[in-house]
Symmetry: D2
Subunit: 342 residues, 4 copies
Amino acid sequence: MRIGILTGGGDCPGLNAAIRSAFYRARKYGYETVAIYDGWKGLIEGGHTEVMKEADVKDIYNFGGTILGSSRTNPYKIENGEKQVLENIKKHKLDAVIAIGGEDTLGVAAKLHKAGVKIVGIPKTVDHDLSETDYTIGFDTALNVAAESIDRLHTTAKSHNRVMIVEIMGRHAGWLTLMAGIAGGAHIILIPEKKVNIDKVCEKVLERKKRGERYTIIAVSEGIEMEGHGKEKKKLDAFGHIPLTDQGLARTLQALIAEKTGMDVKAMVLGHLLRGGAPNAYDRITAAKIGASAVDYIKEKKFGMMTGVNGGKVTPVALEKAVAKLKTVKEEDFELLEALME
Amino acid sequence: MRIGILTGGGDCPGLNAAIRSAFYRARKYGYETVAIYDGWKGLIEGGHTEVMKEADVKDIYNFGGTILGSSRTNPYKIENGEKQVLENIKKHKLDAVIAIGGEDTLGVAAKLHKAGVKIVGIPKTVDHDLSETDYTIGFDTALNVAAESIDRLHTTAKSHNRVMIVEIMGRHAGWLTLMAGIAGGAHIILIPEKKVNIDKVCEKVLERKKRGERYTIIAVSEGIEMEGHGKEKKKLDAFGHIPLTDQGLARTLQALIAEKTGMDVKAMVLGHLLRGGAPNAYDRITAAKIGASAVDYIKEKKFGMMTGVNGGKVTPVALEKAVAKLKTVKEEDFELLEALME
Amino acid sequence: MRIGILTGGGDCPGLNAAIRSAFYRARKYGYETVAIYDGWKGLIEGGHTEVMKEADVKDIYNFGGTILGSSRTNPYKIENGEKQVLENIKKHKLDAVIAIGGEDTLGVAAKLHKAGVKIVGIPKTVDHDLSETDYTIGFDTALNVAAESIDRLHTTAKSHNRVMIVEIMGRHAGWLTLMAGIAGGAHIILIPEKKVNIDKVCEKVLERKKRGERYTIIAVSEGIEMEGHGKEKKKLDAFGHIPLTDQGLARTLQALIAEKTGMDVKAMVLGHLLRGGAPNAYDRITAAKIGASAVDYIKEKKFGMMTGVNGGKVTPVALEKAVAKLKTVKEEDFELLEALME
Amino acid sequence: MRIGILTGGGDCPGLNAAIRSAFYRARKYGYETVAIYDGWKGLIEGGHTEVMKEADVKDIYNFGGTILGSSRTNPYKIENGEKQVLENIKKHKLDAVIAIGGEDTLGVAAKLHKAGVKIVGIPKTVDHDLSETDYTIGFDTALNVAAESIDRLHTTAKSHNRVMIVEIMGRHAGWLTLMAGIAGGAHIILIPEKKVNIDKVCEKVLERKKRGERYTIIAVSEGIEMEGHGKEKKKLDAFGHIPLTDQGLARTLQALIAEKTGMDVKAMVLGHLLRGGAPNAYDRITAAKIGASAVDYIKEKKFGMMTGVNGGKVTPVALEKAVAKLKTVKEEDFELLEALME
């Protein structure tokens, strides 16, 4: 048995723990593990693969990133993409494939499974927006990095009587912002699931100032939408009453809030800090668990499945179901968690 | 409504997040919160309580320790202890009590409930050995501190071809040692639930050396038992073939393994580092959640209950049941997790 | 003796250690310490001061920010500013003043000294650009935060074959970028003191790619100047905001390098993370030392002096000399340190 | 030119930064670098050396420990030790040797220089007790780890009204304990240079309790001497183990202080945590600087010298002078720094 393994989409801490664990579990069963480099790209055209050796993985349980490299290449968005992938799987004599990734990577896996590939998926996303699993690799570490970063910003915001905006990853789901905001003691939290009324935000800022609070920290997801405007994506074209050209969200908010409140406002984008560095203990352990389980699934011929974690146990979820819809923050989740903010 | 709140047993990060959250939830309902100082001690004899104000709790969501102080005082081990507690509850006009603690503190709470006190418990223990909840305040933070400490020890052990023993808290349950050992890349893990055969440990150390590994890291719970010996408690009286007087476990193992393997062995005890410092994001958020839920339980008259967390949701568990038996590591848990160690 | 104490300019970790230490040294001599709030602003118009008590400072040795608040208010840029300051000093019966800050704050102090105020300065700047002292409060902590942030970015840049730009504070001096870049293993370092030729930067990026390096990290000071362009410094508006027509340096570089190399380029701005959080050990100790020395200088009537640190010893430097010129990176410093980068 | 390089004595963070930097500087000059493994041991008997390649050092600037391994082997304490070293230097065709270590390692280097070896030393010690240099590899990182550990212990000590003893490395010199104690807010600091009167320590503990302080943190060097007792240093056996009859210093103090004050006393030994993990920014940069300088000295034929750092500049110091006497804490240093403790 030769198992190909790849990581797709944005990297994050914990991927290597899963890769390592899959290697050892495979070795235990007498299987060979083949590194597929740079995500689906490694199975397109010539492809790029290599048989894995213990020396490659032995020390990587606490390394950030992925030793397999990653890419956002989607074979279904490339002409003959699927065909090339199927040919390369044959050419490299891969009996099965483990794909580690988020919605996009696992969506490809679901389709390849339909096309006959013996495939198992492992959930990974710092956005935490996969609907059929409580755990996704990278989220808990990113959450801690974000919360610690917000911690750092309190003293400087307070010393200067400032409004401090912290932009956090999350295009469609606000989990990371919501949880980091609460953990980091943010005073206002803005997420994609709740349309933002900038006037109400400014009112809250001014109301805090009025009752003597020296500063306000606002945690905001990169993917928020504002009332009276179109969806504020990375390209912020026509913004409305303030003309902006690709200013980025944080800076746009900074300008708007400064204008409306007359306060000193600073903004920072946590960006790739959230994807870097060593995984924390929970990510190391759980990523390792589901990495090993993926090999178990292959042994047990549970193809087309994702190694979900539900109620603390690794549970198989059909890939097709896993990518059918995103898990976003519901009104009641927001209310429940917001109640902890006071 | 006046709610008294206390923390008992060993302190840990996350207690303050729960206290703060209970205060704000109570205020929302128009209830008053009363600090009971130093655990059950604060309700014995004169007692020591004070009405809590927002300024006391506002900034403490990420502070380690407990602003209420703690003690290991158990009223049921003191003459007239229960009577004094009941009288002080009356004297301080407490309509209900929230007790945050582990098996011992919650055991007292269960008995007081039987004696008529309107009480709710919140689970806390770095040992993670409460049977009816997936979450206990302090465990996840302690796990990360322990794992990061083990991380630090790799380079120094390797540079010197050493065996490095790391003693970790855990009298009856090995959860913290097992999880931290795996997360930190320990090579051998010894826990109270599995009798330790020191000769087999040394064999494994020598086997590693033989196949070229420069070093071995051993994670060990403070409460392990050794084959051929009595339970190795904190007082290590008669140890057997090597006479020791109160050497402590780590040092005893150091001597034994050095003698049997002829290798350079160092030992360190993580001790109170595991209880210190700021809680991590998961502890901040979840402690806050169950702190608020405890007040909800009081409002809903769910007395005699503990705010357990199961399958990701806060769920009421009868205190009596919660303290009936400890949650220890089962053979299958150990095997499952040990399989990630290779 | 009543000593007023203030902090001016951008806050940073270590200020509170200096304030605390000054308080205790003053108390030892029987002097009273008066908090002047929000920098020079606290001595303008009505002013805002308060007598300091032990409870205010006891626990702040490792707190970030400044309990005194800060501002960028410069009395010499305000009509009658000096006059108001002199009057408020008299009104609040301050016999002497300690001003903690960078070039701007100490420049004001130098002028006030000429105007007869008994003043001592304490050097603070994360830019490290004060010429007459080896130590400035905040630099060492900011350096470590910056280096650790760059550490985190390696794995994610490598996983994705990326160029990663890290923008670091430093308007006129590149010390922080240069040192953090070297400590963090950056591959290219761009500082204000050396005009940047973007084509040469791109050549180096491509040369690295050619010899098989998967990624390149570029550390860049916010204040760099590019050949063929005007000074790319940020033009700030009244609130210190980047005006809406300005893309920001990091984003400009990102676009330019992506265009010229055809590579995936990401950018991040460390910004206020560098000013936040707890001071490290060196900053705690040295800030405390010079905080105490400032009071000693007052006792010894060494007015108009700054508590410089040179060759490891606290040495008095005339304020006028201290602010006469900035300490920037010299060609030989750059070469010496750049030689460590390979 | 073939340069052998070795690390001797206890490992610490920063060694690899120096090794890496020496490799690159040597390569720049067209020199070959030869790894000598496990300290002087690598030049005794058969010896163990290997030509270094870029891949060995490229990524190690922020790795703890030493890729060369280390040992406490001293050729002058072994029969024919010097002869073997000289022969192996000849056999391995080493034109020069760089020895990185503390007093012991550099003492050997000084003697070998007299015996004709072209040798340069690099100072390394977490104890900071080398007299002719302001900088020694590892000290600043150990200081920060120690200070952060003490930070963690405050909350738990305070929550339980405890005396917390923290034992820190330092056999003959108290620098690390003194500086970490001040940075970490310890209330009592005990160092080898000042005989300890345990009754006075207890008086101070009780005096603190009396004025309402809930807890006391005592930072103590492993090498302190107590009045009325013999030197309480650890007597180590052949493997460096504490003999079984020895309680260890921290535990002895714990027992004594608990008995004399009637308070709850806990003790912890930071031990090898201080030698582990990644070097901080200052250690990375300065170790790299003196690593490169050591190669420069060889080029410039400055043999028998140590790369000292004085007044911020790398300055050559005769090895013989460098090891002539230890730099211990003087009464005035102690007083100066103790004044910051209040």
